[in-house]
Amino acid sequence: MAKKVPEINSSSQADIAFLLLCFFLMTTSMDVDYGITRRLPPPIEVNDEDVKVKERNVMNVLINKNDRLLVNGRPSDISLLKDQAKEFMTPRPNDPTAPEVETKTFDLVGDVLMSKGVISLQNDRGTSYAMYISVQNELARAFNEMKEELAVQKFHKHLDQLNEDQTKAINDAVPVRVSEAEPVVYGNN
């Protein structure tokens, strides 16, 4: 008579599976990273000719080592920076002190009056990273608000409701014109 092999008790299988589940539940991290995306400019050639930019077309933003702001030679504050940047970039054809303007035509959007202004950002080696990010963020906010305004004006929709082509058109019509000055080394600190 053949011996009967008893069936393996599988009632604890669920418990084992639960243990594994708990392990993966605890180790899993579904965090998504967010951040400000920027494109670095290619390195400059040594004998590269200086591109002459008219003084009225540039807004100089300086951050010193004590995290103080200087906008076009005047002290400023981070809470004012967004409005200053927006005011500077808004085309004002009749103001001789404002940046020059030009009219460009884009698909979908049509003719847009664009400012030739550039925001030049320079920081010290002693500037804190938090301040630098704040300034980058405020400048980005100024451009995003201008994009939003143009989107409402041209498409009667908010920026995040546009389709892909419309978003691209808006991004072309409102380019983020922030340039970072080449780092300068004063002395050997």
Binding site: S10, Q13, A14, A17, F18, L20, L21, F24, L25, T27, T28, S29, M30, V32, D33, Y34, G35, I36, T37, R38, R39, L40, P41, P42, P43, D67, I78, S79, N123, D124, R125, G126, T127, S128, Y129, A130, M131, Y132, I133, S134, Q136, N137, E138, A140, R141, N144, P183
Partner: protein, 157 residues
Amino acid sequence: MGKFRKEGSKEVPQVSTSSLPDIVYMLIFFFMITTSMRDVELKVKTAMPKASEIQKLERKALVSSIYIGPPRDTKLGTESRIQLDDAFARPDDIADWIMKERESRAEADRPLLTTALKVHKDTRMGVVTDVKQELRKVGAFRINYTTLKGSALENQR
């Protein structure tokens, strides 16, 4: 008709638990697939500043992270240091590291490689500028300043 009615079958039968392991296994597989174990051990503190105008970092496989911040080990001082992969590094090491990161990706993906800078908020910009200059030299132009969600005005104390 009454023939089919069993005597005393009013009791509700016990719920079968034999499919419970299968359900749990399904959950396990879900978490096993979505899990991503931390690939580096952080040797520097990276309490990142807040920002509001932020984008999601798409395609994590194409992101290489550089960590900059004061060392966790307080014996090493409070000066911000650069961490690449698992070790401290100097700005000169970044070029080689970027090359290595590029090698490990498929040819078609290499131009899309993004460098995420995870920098402690109290770090001085000098270190960050050095890193950015090195990245420019090797042509790694796509960068992302990784931040937390929030208002940038809260960064100032």
